[in-house]
Symmetry: C2
């Protein structure tokens, strides 16, 4: 097999620490298995601002485009909080989504049995939870024009953003959701505010028509976003796949993550379309942030970053077996009683980032 080109972007805060543990897993794969990775590393976020003056350099974007997959850590921290709207560390991730056309953000929310008590929800409500949220991620109000702040003649100001969705944009992300559902429980719930927003009405109509045309075997329901927020709290296990807009997906996927009580465990993927060369751009990142408060202390949980790498193997390289192997290793390590601080429970052994990473590699 030819070498896989990986771009690793550790970023800020705990990003580099947790990424180090992924390198351990990659080394193990390099040693033991057929696959080989060509790895490049680059700066993003505050780290890139400090060196290049921008949250992501054009050169790094070019490297990301050339890579088979991008593994991203986390960005941001108090040091860069005062920067203007167009120089924030978060722009690194927004730029990559836009430049690589990463329109489908996959956000699993799963509760592993050993961690069922970590949730603020009752165990009987979240045990076995397994939701996949597909969030549109290159459109909607995040990127719509016109946008900006305008000074009005009377001395007041007006802030404007625009939610725009076209039928092709809706179709391609819905298609990802339907395809995922086929490999899961076969149910998609499409979420918008069609009762107050025309863009939501178009969303609903387009998803409905697509299902009839291409996915009649998948069950499709529709839900308003406010109701979805409620249902995620009331009975989250009613959902299989949820597909929604960029903005609703931002809130709802974070809400769903928090239902698990263990953000340090959750990976994500953001996928683009198939290119002419048959390749699909893709970026993988933990859903947790850069956690500046605990950075450098060696206490961060590396699991979400390691599981992001497992998602990378599954979605970018079809290495389902290896992905499952890593996922199982993580579950086993938890079952053996090791815990980083964020998921610590009475009676368990509290370990550092490195010990956790080593335990996963050993389990492999």
């Amino acid at each position: 097999a030819s070498n896989k080109k990986l771009l690793i972007l550790p970023g800020d805060g705990i990003g580099p620490e947790v990424m180090r543990e992924v390198r351990r897993v990659i080394d193990w794969m390099d040693r033991r298995r057929a696959v080989r990775f060509d790895i490049e590393e680059a700066l993003v976020g505050g780290a890139a601002i400090d060196v290049h003056g921008v949250p992501i350099s054009a050169e790094t974007v070019a490297k990301a485009k050339a890579a088979d997959a991008v593994l991203f850590g986390a960005v941001g921290g108090p040091k860069w909080d005062g920067l203007g709207f167009d120089r924030r560390p978060e722009l690194a991730i927004l730029t990559l989504r836009r430049e690589l056309g990463l329109f489908a953000n996959l956000r699993p929310a799963t509760v592993l049995d050993p961690l069922v008590d970590a949730s603020t929800l009752k165990p009987e409500v979240v045990r076995g939870l397994d939701i996949m949220i597909v969030r549109e991620s290159t459109g909607g109000i995040y990127f719509g024009e016109p946008r900006g702040i305008e000074s009005l003649p009377d001395g007041t100001k007006k802030g404007v953003n625009t939610e725009v969705y076209t039928t092709p944009e809706i179709e391609r992300v819905a298609r990802v959701a339907f395809e995922l559902a086929r490999r899961r429980q076969g149910r998609v719930c499409s979420v918008e505010k069609a009762n107050v927003m025309e863009s939501g009405l178009l969303w609903r109509q387009t998803v409905t028509a697509l299902r009839e045309r291409e996915f009649p075997d998948v069950e499709l329901t529709h839900m308003y976003a406010d109701n979805c927020a409620m249902q995620l709290v009331r009975n989250p296990r009613q959902f299989d796949v949820i597909v929604t807009t960029n903005l609703f997906g931002d809130l709802l996927s974070d809400l769903a993550s928090m239902l698990t009580g263990s953000l340090g465990m959750l990976p994500s993927a953001t996928l683009g379309g198939l290119g002419p060369d048959g390749r699909r751009h893709a970026l993988y990142e933990p859903i947790h942030g850069s956690a500046p408060d605990i950075a450098g202390k060696g206490v961060a949980n590396p699991m979400a970053q390691i599981l992001s790498f497992a998602m990378l193997l599954r979605f970018s390289f079809d290495m389902t077996e290896d992905a499952a192997l890593i996922e199982r290793a993580c579950t086993n390590v938890l079952a053996s009683g090791l815990r980083t601080a964020d998921i610590m429970q009475p009676g368990m052994a509290r370990v550092s980032t490195q010990v956790m990473g080593e335990a996963v590699t050993r389990e492999l």
Copy 2:
């Protein structure tokens, strides 16, 4: 004291049933106390569509404007689901918000001790919960122009909505939040997505400046909407007053309501500005919907509608004592073990809408 003019709009589904129990409370007040109400009743929602062809008639809007306060039930049902975007029952409430300038939607999320187990969250996370969400309700993406669905030359379609906020719009709703905080724990958390939306950035700047000018005694923090959705699940009691946009408020207030596990208990108020005559338009409604599935069966919980009336007394007529009396009566009835089906618990007595309403009046 002069008579208070009340407009009662029962609406659809369980609306009329639960409103009947409020009438019991009003009758009791009429009999026992100094205050007198002049009450008018009118149709809204599906009921108005059936009779007038529109979800709310111009005449009813005029009556609402002339009233000192509006008590609203709930609207909608499967019968009217197929109607177009501009004839839905929900338009009744959107029209009233716009026509009466009801810009501040107050959504309390409180957990009464007898109902702490109704939540899907662990009792230790929600016990004593008492959040007030102030949602902007006449601006933002709900009303912004341009909006609509457009057919493009290439045969695809484009759906557009616009988020617009001006500084005066932000200030007036933030002022309501700061004033409420002064009568509570003195803390306001302002919520937007200033990291990706300029309208959110203007929101943040405007709220910050207003606090410095007029409310230096109130503590102000800022939170991104996605983080707020998470924090509401992680540790909801960290919040006192939350102020946010129309769209974020729609999701976050419903999420906060569901944390209590007892939607049938939660009232809301929507307030306008002070008019030239010193009057403030205001509408009060339970946060639950019309619940067509249980309508007409006499099993709906009338508490939220009764507590909406208590809010009406407090906010429109400054009748704090009477409001507290009604609220206490509701708590006592719960403590005595009566439950409607929606909040039924083992060992409690399951009662009908009417028995619950009578119990509250008796307790008064």
